[in-house]
């Protein structure tokens, strides 16, 4: 299937919390005809360890309905997600499958801000960033199907992350709240 082949480029579900730079490097570990089986995200990890995303497993969960996650770009477009297809159905851009192909990985970098500010239409302006898209989409589904939906449920926190959250061995030393 042509469609399935295109999935080679697919990003899929990658949960990354608090990444400073989103110049994401997708390491496609194993390639199958169904798309990458496992996707490891490591170059952007800071507060969290690299994420191993079991793409194959999620294909199973989705019962091979790619459109469940890749909304309008592959499979049978479902309703309700994504208005892009309304205008861009016949354009090449609608053939992009990878999440990062449309969702900006770093909307807050100077380049990213420029892109966002130049977007004319409100649809474009309100497009979630890559991180936002992942977390909005994944967690919504995880909540429904009782998947993990705490931060560390999907990615382990680094020592730097512990310091950021004042958790673990960086937890506040004093006990109790001093009453002012």
């Amino acid at each position: 299937m042509v469609d399935k082949k295109k999935m080679l480029h697919g990003g899929g579900f990658i949960i990354v919390l608090l990444v400073i730079a989103f110049g994401a490097g997708y390491v496609q570990a194993i390639e199958t005809s169904e798309g990458p089986a496992t996707i490891i995200l490591d170059s952007i990890a800071e507060y969290y360890e690299p994420v191993q995303f079991d793409h194959a497993l999620h294909i199973e969960f989705a019962e091979n309905d790619c459109a469940k996650c890749h909304h309008h770009t592959i499979g049978t477009p479902s309703t309700g997600t994504g208005n892009c297809i309304l205008c861009h159905k016949k354009e090449a851009i609608s053939k992009i499958i990878a999440c990062r192909g449309c969702h900006l990985s770093d909307p807050y970098s100077p380049e990213g801000r420029k892109v966002v500010s130049e977007r004319g239409e409100v649809f474009h302006k309100d497009k979630p960033s890559l991180k936002g898209a992942y977390h909005q989409f994944c967690i919504a589904c995880h909540e429904e199907v009782d998947g993990p939906f705490t931060c560390t449920g999907c990615h382990e926190r680094t020592d730097k992350g512990d310091a950021f959250f004042h958790s673990g061995k960086h937890a506040p030393k004093h006990t109790g709240t001093p009453k002012h």
């Binding site: 608090l18 966002v116 004042h166 960086h170």
Partner: protein, 309 residues
């Protein structure tokens, strides 16, 4: 006697005029009405349907603003069940410029979270109530605070309709107001979003031009029928705020004050400010006139009496 009175009259008048100048200054400075924010000002649209209460924004704020160590780790969710004075949920404090609270809303299985921070009003009451001009509404949209001139009267805390400014009471020599400044010094000034907004994994906070955000907010409401309450909290409240909210449940269920009205709070004060120059200019002449009348009457009486005699 007449000569004497005229002299006194003049002195009274002069004193009044000098004071009048003072009063007129205050009137002019407050005369801006209907200011709806700097056109290029930034804002943040908080979509509460996206917030999952992970408290990452709190941690990011703590780090960015170099705030003191929190009482509990930022991944400790027991803070949502904390009950403070009078059954209050958590509020902003000298140690936390932003906090997230959890709400159980009837008819909703899942809890709903609400992020609280300074809303950066278009016409901030903290600013208009400050008698040392410690607050500034920057063209970028932030309401910043100058601790160098603050006397510590805490009128801003009385005046803030959102209960945002906190005060470092425990400091003896330099107690100051502590509040969110939208990361003005480190980020907003350079056109970057505040730390909390950037840190949010679910993009609960959308950063952008305030005018764009209002459009975006209404678009989200239109494109997702039934998902949102048809209202952007902060679009018009108290004259509009830079931080605005979208919600799936009525705002009052999440502790928002929906009784504030759309007029800037300074409008309430203007009725008094309007009488200031009138008193300053009319009173001297009026009371000097009373004085002349009252004492002239005595003269006449005396004359009358002497005639009688």
């Amino acid at each position: 006697m007449d000569k004497m009175n005229r002299r006194l009259f003049l002195k009274g008048g002069l004193a009044g005029t000098a004071l009048g100048a003072l009063g007129l200054v205050s009137k002019n400075a407050s005369a801006s009405s209907g200011f709806s924010g700097y056109s290029e000002g930034f804002g943040v649209l908080v979509d509460l349907t996206r917030c999952i209460g992970c408290r990452t924004c709190e941690a990011a704020c703590n780090k960015e603003q170099q705030l003191p160590e929190p009482d509990k780790p930022f991944d400790d969710f027991s803070v949502f069940d904390e009950v403070h004075e009078g059954g209050q949920k958590r509020r902003t404090s000298e140690k936390a410029y932003t906090i997230v609270n959890k709400y159980k809303v009837e008819g909703h299985d899942k809890p709903i979270f609400r992020k609280v921070q300074c809303n950066h009003c278009n016409e901030p009451t903290c600013l208009t109530s400050c008698f040392v001009n410690a607050y500034t509404k920057t063209p970028e949209g932030a309401v910043t605070y100058n601790s160098k001139v603050c006397v510590g009267c805490r009128t801003c805390m009385i005046a803030c309709p959102f209960y945002i400014p906190a005060y470092s009471y425990s400091s003896v020599l330099n107690p100051v107001v502590k509040k969110c400044i939208m990361c003005y010094d480190t980020r907003l000034k350079f056109g970057r979003p505040p730390a909390c907004a950037q840190s949010c994994p679910r993009e609960t906070m959308t950063f952008g031009k305030r005018s764009d955000l209002i459009y975006q907010g209404h678009q989200r409401i239109r494109l997702n029928p039934g998902k949102y309450v048809d209202h952007i909290y902060g679009e018009n409240e108290v004259g509009g705020t830079a931080w605005m909210y979208l919600s799936s449940v009525p705002f009052e269920d999440l502790g928002f004050d929906t009784t504030l009205g759309n007029a800037p709070i300074i409008n309430n004060v203007k009725e008094f400010l309007a009488i200031v120059p009138m008193v300053l200019t009319i009173w001297p002449a009026l009371f000097a006139g009373f004085h002349l009348l009252a004492t002239r009457k005595n003269v006449n009486n005396q004359g009358h009496e002497s005639e009688k005699k």
